[in-house]
C-alpha cells in the first residue's frame, strides 16, 4: 500500500468520501461537497457557454461575417421573458429553435425510425432469435390495437406483447442498477487505487 502524494488524488478521494458519508446520515460535510460540486458545475457551464458564444458568434462577427448579428439579436431577445410587457417577443424567438429542432427530427424520423426498423424486423424465421423478434414485435403492436375487436387471437398476441414489455422494463431497470454500480466502482477505484494505492 502506497498512499498517493498527488494533491489532486487527495482532493478527489476526500470529496468522494464526503459525498458517500450521506449513506450514514445527512451531515454538513456531505452538504459542503454537494454545494461545491454544484457551484463548480455551474461555473464550468458558464465558461463553456461563453467560449461557445465567442467562437461561433462574436469572433465570426468581428471577422466580418455580419450575418451573425441576426442570431445574436434573436438570442438576446430571449431574455425579454423577464419583462411582462415584452414577453411575447421571447416566445417568437423561442419558436424558431423549437421549430428547427422538430423539423430536423421529422426529416430523419421516417427513414431512421420507421422504415429501417420495419426492414430490420422482416427477417427469415430460421433461428430462435429471429422468431422471437417477429413474435414480440407483433405482440407489442397488437397490445396497442384499441380500435380492433378483441378476438381471442388479438388478445393472445397482446398478452405476448404485455410480457415482452415487462421483460424490457425489467431489463432497463437492471441496466440502470448496473450503470449506477459502475459509477460507484469508478469512485471506489479512485479511493482504493489512485489514493490509497491498494490496487495492484
Amino acid at each position: 500500500m502506497s498512499i498517493s502524494s498527488d494533491p489532486k488524488a487527495w482532493i478527489a478521494a476526500i470529496l468522494i468520501l464526503c459525498l458517500y458519508s450521506f449513506l450514514y446520515k445527512e451531515n454538513p460535510v456531505f452538504r459542503f461537497a454537494e454545494h461545491l460540486y454544484i457551484g463548480i458545475g455551474a461555473g464550468h457551464a458558464i465558461a463553456v457557454q461563453w467560449n461557445n458564444l465567442k467562437n461561433t458568434a462574436f469572433l465570426p462577427l468581428f471577422r466580418g461575417n455580419m450575418m451573425m448579428i441576426i442570431p445574436i439579436i434573436i438570442g438576446a431577445l430571449l431574455y425579454t421573458r423577464f419583462s411582462k410587457k415584452y414577453v411575447h417577443i421571447s416566445r417568437l424567438c423561442l419558436a424558431l429553435p423549437v421549430g428547427l429542432g422538430i423539423g430536423l427530427a421529422l426529416r430523419g424520423l421516417p427513414a431512421a425510425q420507421i422504415l429501417s426498423q420495419i426492414r430490420a424486423t422482416l427477417v427469415p424465421l430460421n433461428n430462435i432469435n429471429n422468431f422471437l423478434t417477429v413474435i414480440c414485435v407483433m405482440g407489442t403492436l397488437s397490445f396497442f390495437f384499441f380500435t380492433t375487436k378483441q378476438t381471442p387471437v388479438v388478445r393472445g398476441f397482446s398478452e405476448v406483447g404485455k410480457w415482452t414489455m415487462m421483460v424490457t422494463f425489467g431489463l432497463t431497470f437492471a441496466t440502470a442498477v448496473f450503470g449506477q454500480m459502475a459509477i460507484y466502482l469508478g469512485a471506489l477505484q479512485r479511493v482504493l487505487g489512485t489514493w490509497l494505492g491498494m490496487i495492484k
Binding site: N52, N55, G108, A112, M181, I183, L188
Partner: protein, 277 residues
Amino acid sequence: MLQKLQSIDRRIVYLLFFVVTAVPFVRPVQVPMQIAEYTKGTYEAMEALKPGDFVLIDVRFSPASAGEMVPAYSSMLAHLLKKPGVRVAWFVTSLSGAIYADDGIRMFEAAGKVYGKDIAQMGFLAGEETAIAAVSQDIFKAFPSDSRGTKSDQLEVLKGIKNAKDFALVLNMSDGGLGPLGWVRQANMPFGTKVISLLSQVMVPSAIPYYQAKQVVGLVSGLQGGAEYEQMLGTPGRGMASMGAQTFGHLYLVALVILANISYLVTRGASKGGRVK
C-alpha cells in the same frame, strides 16, 4: 429471523456491499467474460480505419458518469492511437464533455500527435441534434474556429473534409440524451456515415434496434463494454479490474432481492393466519 431481516439497518446493507465490492479490487478475482457482438462490431470498424481517414468524436458525458464511461473511452482512444495517420477531431454536445475532449487531446499529444495537423478540439455546440445536423452538413460553418480560437480553414486536420460524407467514422460517447439517434437521423441516413456509440449501460437496450438495423456499426456498453474492449485490445485496465467487483456486487444484490422476496412472502402468509418462526 425473517422479521429481523426485514428491519435490518440499511447501513449494514451498505457496509456489506462495500466489503463485497472492495475485496475483489484488493485481491483480484478472474471472472469469465463474453464479448458482445456489438462490441466486436466497434472493434472491427475501428480496426478497418486507414491512414488519412477522418474520425469525429462527439463527447456527451459528464463527470457524474465518468466511472462508467472513461475506461471504454480511454481504450477506444488507445485503439485510435494504434492506427497510423488517422486524423481525429473532437466536438462536444454537453457542457462538461469538454473536460474529456481535452483529456483526449492531452493523451494524443503525449503520444506525439500534433494539434492542428493530426488532432483538433472543435469545442461545444448547443442543441444536440441541431448541432449534429449542422456539423454533418458543413463542419466549417458549424465551427468557424476551434476551441482554441484558430480559424477552422487553417486546421490541417480538416483538410478535404466538408460534411458527414467525408467522415470515415463518428464516435458518439453518450451518457444521456439522444444517444446514437441524432447521428443516425442526421448523418447515417442522409450521408451513409458509419456511427459507433459508447453508451451508459442503461441506454444500450434502446440503442440495440439501431445496431440490428445496421444504422450503427458498433456499440460499447459502459463499464462492461470497456472491459470487453480492453480484452480485445490486449491492454487490461480499469474496466477489466472492475469486473470481479461488479460480479460480486451483482450476486450480492440478487441475493438481497431473493431474501427480501422470501421474507415478504412468508410474513404475508403469516399475516393471513400462518406463523413465522
